[in-house]
């Protein structure tokens, strides 16, 4: 039977049998539709990409205020469109390795302070110019300038000097950082002619698609760039189009009606309904994003570690994943790192719901009265429900939680990072160092748990400079345990990215870094013939 299926699926891939006929015959052979579909996808991959057509995505996360300046990218649509027209210095592969792009080789001095990038020959910008080491230097300069509004400035500030010599770019850092190559994969760091200093929002890059249409908040379109340096791997469709569809129902309807080939952010609530639609495939995969309940470690009553421990133990994580994520996620362990990160240690004991132990710590903390938890719809999808579930599970441990629902408008400016106990989310970062540096260093602006620990800060700096991966991994493990046992972070769940594709989309590869194959879905997928 499997021989026959193989044969049939190859026939489809070669275009000699229609997809529907194949599914019909496969079902006749007693194979489930899901399995038959996956067979088909495998065969199509083996057969290679199909060139041509218009590939369309309907995405949430675009506004009429979006700019083409990569420094200002923040939401999903500019992010995904940036990967269409821009080329990166390095990128993370779906397996989590570094993938050389414009920089074909990266080397460092022994102390991880001086880094050398060898710039690839023969990559061309859409305006016909060749990508030079000077362009890379100018790009990094623009993003590391103190006055720049770049979203990457936080990491780029660590650059002391930049120099182009021959085909190389030499980066000297203020402090050693073993993670520099990962930091260079930040999606803001799109290489532009002269670094975008002559026109940051000109929209000229070296990516697989040239910008054909740019109507912020409405649609963005690209045409295949004939001189793209990796035309066999990316840029299969003749044209790509992103249509901004911020309404979840409209997005689903557009996919169902065939107006778009893929959508992002399917709500967990409706995944099971969408799964049943003919032709639609749910593409969910775990990522570094997580939903959190955060307490300020320096504000009463949360300055007491027993109270924090009680609050952590009173969290029913399984229930959160089941009811809030509908199973599309994994339980968290009160530190912000999971297997999506390099150098993750999976041997740290999983914290579980334990009302008795929670009650014990609660008593020991001496706290009396209620604990005020602020939440809002915008904190994460289902945040208000999650807060209420948490209120119930806390009650089982004898902890009284008062849930206060705050307006979504102004939540990020008035509640998050201001009030001592609230719900929030993190999208995650590409390395452990980035995550800890952004939100757990004493000096970090976004230290939203007010985790002020000089000893922990030292470990972050030490791990940054450590080039020996074994030692680094051990350091990161110790740091994770400190955050887990003494921090103000309650992390019940890591959420999956949930995208969906319609009929006949080939070439999908799960990528744990960001949604839509780390933004490359339109460039790497193709329309099956």
């Amino acid at each position: 039977m499997s021989n026959e299926l193989d044969f049939l699926s190859r026939r489809v891939a070669q275009g000699r049998l229609s997809r529907r006929e194949f599914l019909g015959r496969a079902t006749a052979l007693g194979v489930s539709a899901t399995f038959a579909n996956s067979l088909l996808a495998g065969a199509a991959r083996a057969e290679g990409p199909v060139k041509g057509g218009i590939l369309k995505a309907g995405l949430v996360g675009g506004e009429s205020t979006n700019s083409l300046d990569p420094a200002l990218f923040m939401t999903q649509v500019p992010f995904a469109f940036g990967k269409m027209w821009g080329e990166m210095i390095v990128e993370l592969s779906p397996e989590g390795d570094l993938e050389p792009r414009i920089a074909e080789e990266i080397g460092s001095s022994d102390d991880a302070k001086v880094w050398t990038l060898k710039i690839r020959d023969g990559i061309e910008f859409h305006n016909g110019k060749t990508v030079t080491p000077e362009d890379v230097v100018a790009t990094l300069e623009r993003h590391s300038d103190e006055n720049s509004k770049s979203g990457a400035l936080g990491y780029m500030k660590g650059i002391e000097s930049l120099k182009a010599s021959g085909r190389e770019v030499v980066i000297t850092l203020k402090e050693p950082n073993a993670d520099l190559p990962y930091l260079l994969s930040d999606y803001h760091l799109v290489v532009q002619p002269n670094g975008g200093k002559d026109g940051a929002d000109a929209g000229i890059g070296a990516g697989p698609y040239k910008i054909a249409v740019n109507e912020p908040g409405v649609r963005h379109g690209g045409e295949r760039f004939a001189n793209y340096w990796q035309g066999d791997k990316m840029g299969h469709a003749d044209q790509v189009e992103i249509i901004v569809i911020n309404d979840a129902t409209a997005r689903t309807a557009a996919l169902q009606g065939g107006q778009v080939n893929m959508i992002n952010r399917v709500e967990p609530k409706i995944v099971d309904l969408i799964k049943r639609l003919p032709g639609v495939t749910i593409r969910n995969h775990s990522g570094p994003g997580h939903y959190v309940f955060i307490a300020h470690c320096n504000t009463a009553p949360f300055d007491n570690n027993d109270l924090r421990m009680a609050l952590k133990l009173a969290m029913d994580r399984e229930e959160m994943v089941d009811k809030i994520l509908r199973g599309y996620g994994t339980v968290g362990n009160d530190f912000p790192i999971n297997s999506a990160y390099p150098l993750f240690s999976d041997d740290i004991e999983q914290r579980t719901f334990d009302p008795e132990k929670a009650a014990f710590h609660y008593k020991k903390s001496g706290h009396d009265g209620t604990v005020l938890l602020r939440t809002s719809d915008v904190a994460f999808p289902g945040a208000v429900d999650a807060a209420q579930l948490y209120q119930q599970s806390c009650a089982k441990a004898g902890i009284k939680v008062e849930v206060k629902r705050e307006p979504g408008d102004g939540y990020w400016s008035e509640v998050w990072n201001k009030q001592p106990f609230c719900t929030s989310y993190w999208g995650g970062r590409s390395t452990q160092d980035q995550m800890y540096s952004t939100a757990y260093l004493s000096t970090a602006d976004w230290n939203d748990t007010r985790f002020l620990r000089p000893d922990f800060d030292k470990m972050v700096i030490a791990a940054r400079a450590e080039l020996d991966n074994e030692k680094r991994k051990a350091l990161y493990r110790d740091m994770a345990v400190i955050v887990r046992d003494e921090g103000g972070l309650i992390l019940p769940m890591f959420n999956d990215f949930i995208d969906a594709t319609g009929d006949g989309v080939g070439g999908w590869v799960d990528d744990p870094h960001q949604e839509l194959m780390n933004g490359y879905a339109l460039a790497k997928c193709w329309l099956e013939a």
Binding site: K149, E215, I245, T249, G258
Partner: protein, 319 residues
């Protein structure tokens, strides 16, 4: 046309302009009351006292409020709406495309709904209290009672997903062929039609029924005119003033109140543009859009007034 009419019309227009000025003062004052100023919203978290002072001087925020108001007003009168804080683009340029889209949708929704509503209203009067009347009223009231997003989703489900006759998302762009554009706006225009239909239809029906009580209608009937002729020749012209009023109100709704429909169908109009900028605290854009909406409202009301005056001899010749 006699001169009293011209005088009345001139009066109305002058009043409208005054009202618009008053609204502009209100909008300006409202945005002044908000905590923080434009310089602060531009710089955001990274604001230092020094950069704030520089930017304030650059934007002229140190001038007294009335000076700034007149500068702003002067700019608007000369077509300069300023630049958006969030994207640095010229507001007038970005609004014009959006406004045109909104007007395009409103125009076609009106072109369908107004004749339909008036026609159905006349029909309802002709067969008043019979099953035709009840059916028309029932359906129209039902479609109005459902929230517009519900009707929108319902139409999307059947026309875009099930039968795939019309697209479920109405993205339109410059240079789109006319027929494609019409097809794209079919569903949102249908939703808007359903939403405004009942109001206009019921008003037409009520206004005409009111006139039908008059003695001259009885005379017309007695001299042997057919029922539809009585309505068309005698009742409708006398009932037109309230009908114009309600039509204009609904037209205004079609232009300024379509945010929900625009969001559902992803239609790039003014509503979506306003919402995006409100959430970014982009004050100059919000001011500009607010003023445009107010102008639309006031203009349509003036038209309604003038229409009512012209249609009604008693108003035309006040004692």
């Amino acid at each position: 046309m006699s001169s009293p009419i011209l005088k009345l019309i001139a009066q109305r227009i002058a009043l409208g302009i005054l009202l618009l000025l008053a609204v502009s003062v209100l909008i300006f004052a409202g945005t002044q009351i908000l905590p923080g100023d434009v310089a602060q919203s531009i710089l955001g978290q990274s604001a230092t006292p020094e950069s704030l002072a520089n930017l304030r001087a650059e934007l002229g925020l140190n001038d007294p409020a009335y000076v700034r108001y007149f500068n702003w007003l002067g700019g608007i009168l000369t077509g300069d709406l300023g630049t958006a804080l969030s994207s640095g683009q010229d507001i007038a340029t970005s609004i014009s495309g959006r406004l045109w889209n909104t007007l395009f949708l409103a125009f076609w929704a009106a072109a369908v709904s107004i004749p339909l509503a008036i026609g159905l209203g006349l029909l309802a009067v002709r067969y008043r209290n019979g099953w035709v009347d009840k059916l028309i009223s029932g359906l129209a009231l039902a479609s109005t009672s459902f929230p517009e997003f519900f009707i929108g989703y319902l139409l999307v489900y059947f026309f875009a997903v099930k039968w795939q006759i019309f697209p479920g998302i109405s993205t339109v762009y410059d240079g789109m062929p006319f027929m494609d554009r019409m097809q794209a706006i079919a569903l949102p225009a249908a939703v808007l039609t359903l939403v405004v239909l009942a109001h206009m239809m019921r008003m037409t029906r009520a206004a005409i029924l009111n006139v039908m009580q008059s003695a001259y209608i009885e005379t017309a009937e007695l001299k042997g005119l057919s029922a539809i002729d009585v309505i068309r020749r005698h009742a409708f012209p006398n009932a037109i003033a309230p009908i114009i009023n309600v039509v204009m109100l609904n037209l205004a709704f079609l232009i300024v109140g379509v945010v929900v429909v625009e969001v559902i169908f992803v239609y790039p109009g003014m509503g979506q543009y306003l919402v995006d900028h409100v959430s970014k605290r982009d004050v100059p854009v919000v001011q500009a859009v607010g003023l445009i909406f107010a102008a639309v409202y006031i203009t349509l009301n003036i038209v309604a007034d003038i229409g009512a005056i012209v249609a009604n001899p008693r108003l035309r010749h006040p004692k």
